[in-house]
Symmetry: C2
């Protein structure tokens, strides 16, 4: 069986000040090339790492000083030429990506936190319809129109409508990856051009955009990995009590709501949210009050672990977030 190299990628998420953040590093991938944002990554040491996630925790600690708590495997990326160094004799690189949720934000080394909506501005609907979608829509239309034949045009149209919620289709917050992949295929993200050039496919380049999208790109396929993470987390939120990994042990209901909103990218009805988490048994009051920030003091709550015994799939699967 021929060999390949196994890499491990980490999407490390924290939420502070109502901003969901991910930990990034700066990397020069092409030696001497431009530095780009990248997800932290490291190798699996086949000899010493007993499991994949132990390997991950090991080098995350080494690189950033962070001790990961909640960790979950996301997806394994193995397309050829994910890393351009492969085409110059490097080994086939297969990367197993993980999602980690943390509370702390102090990191050491070259790591820094970034608002994940800088990478996906179209995903944040908390202030209503994101303005960037008005710029994307016509670009998507051109992509549809540029299809080589009517059948393919029809497919493109349907796909664009479904994933971007156009033409009356409802927006589905979980389709983060599908949206990114469509933009990539349509040549609307810089990675599309860059990858083609790096692979020597300088023919068939998408037209360089006069005015590039106001979104941050990433090295390699890391924005794809990040999109996978965001989509997965949005889904998981609804049926597993993962938000609490991102919150201090004690919090107010509004703090909880703000974190959920930050991840889900939508605003929620306050009273209904409260009803959901309280009558759903997800939290319990401590009797203590918040050293608040203006307004009537709020009660402090804690996560109620017993809910795991009471309900099969406890989460904040609430109004406007529900599945069907």
């Amino acid at each position: 069986m021929p060999d390949a190299a196994i890499g491990l990628n980490a999407v490390i998420v924290a939420v502070t000040e109502e901003v969901p953040r991910i930990l990034t590093v700066r990397r020069e991938l092409a030696a001497g090339g431009p530095a780009e944002d990248a997800l932290p990554f490291g190798p699996l040491e086949p000899e010493t790492d007993r499991t994949l996630d132990r390997g991950l925790r090991r080098w995350v600690r080494e690189q950033t000083g962070l001790d990961l708590g909640y960790v979950e495997q996301l997806y394994t990326f193995g397309d050829r030429n994910r890393d351009p160094r492969e085409s110059h004799g490097g080994p086939r690189l297969v990367s197993v990506a993980y999602l980690a949720l943390v509370r702390e934000v102090s990191v050491s080394g070259e790591a820094r936190w970034r608002d994940w909506y800088e990478f996906f501005p179209w995903e944040d609907w908390r202030d209503g319809h994101p303005a960037i979608l008005d710029r994307l829509a016509p670009a998507l239309d051109s992509w549809v129109a540029a299809a080589p034949n009517p059948r393919s045009r029809q497919e493109r149209r349907e796909r664009a409508e479904i994933v971007f919620g156009l033409g009356g289709v409802a927006w589905d917050g979980e389709r983060v990856l599908e949206r990114y992949e469509l933009l990539y295929e349509a040549g609307l993200v810089p990675e599309a051009r860059r990858d083609r050039i790096e692979r020597g496919e300088a023919d068939r380049l998408p037209p360089e955009d006069a005015e590039p999208l106001p979104a941050r790109a990433m090295a390699l396929d890391h924005r794809r990995i990040l999109a996978t993470a965001l989509g997965r987390l949005r889904g998981k939120l609804k049926y597993r009590p993962v938000v609490f990994e991102l919150l201090p042990p004690t919090f107010t209901l509004l703090q909880l709501q703000r974190v959920v909103e930050a991840l889900a990218g939508v605003r929620l009805h306050k009273q209904n949210f409260r009803r959901l988490v309280e009558t759903g048994g997800l939290v319990e009051g401590t009797g203590r009050q918040d050293a608040q920030t203006g307004g009537r003091p709020a009660e402090l709550f804690v996560f109620r672990r017993e809910v795991l015994r009471e309900r099969p799939a406890p989460g904040v699967g609430l109004p406007g977030l529900r599945r069907p």
Copy 2:
């Protein structure tokens, strides 16, 4: 970056006669050892396989003659010593497992179809509470009692109750993997003994069960992979129209219901199921009728693709299957 070998595993699912089946092969893993059921697996060819799932499709075709349609990545298994050959100088083997859904059942080669509930008899609740659970419950109690300290005992009890729905906790059909892993840890499946012996940990063996569970074991960690697949499929059913991958293009509502029940492992209320899929826009009548099997003829339905435009997460997320 040190090298490792990448394997690909396929959990290939079909449903016929209300039985969910998976494709297995017989393998002698220890040369000269006993033949065991295994999932089909093959290597990734780093040079020729452009993507992981292409590699998978390639060797599944080679090994079984099957052309896969719907394929979805499941999970990547990378613990050390998954394959005992590693401890004899073999390379670290990391396997990417895939779930595939097919309609056909004719296979060539050494492959054969097996009822997946032979591997997990406790997962089939279609005829009510599975009898095997009455045998498992006391064995789980012993495992809880055997905890080294009160704290660990409490944790074991809570875990057993949650995953097996004991002590008033509701049964959650999706926790297939958690149940299998608990049984493994508790030494209640033959793989637990076998793996310890193969790793030379012949001390600390779980006691050999006088009367082994009436369930089929698998080679390596393949039953774990299978459990992952079953759990994932049960979950996905509820919010993506994947059942239709397992059905002929045209089907009656009862056929559809039977397939869903076979996968979910529970019986559903017929009229409500019908209401759900019809008013939910998942299917549409063809006007034609079934060459039926006794009783009033049933209308033939087809999957209604337009539902993808109308609802964000269409699936059979119905009564008794819902998340919260």
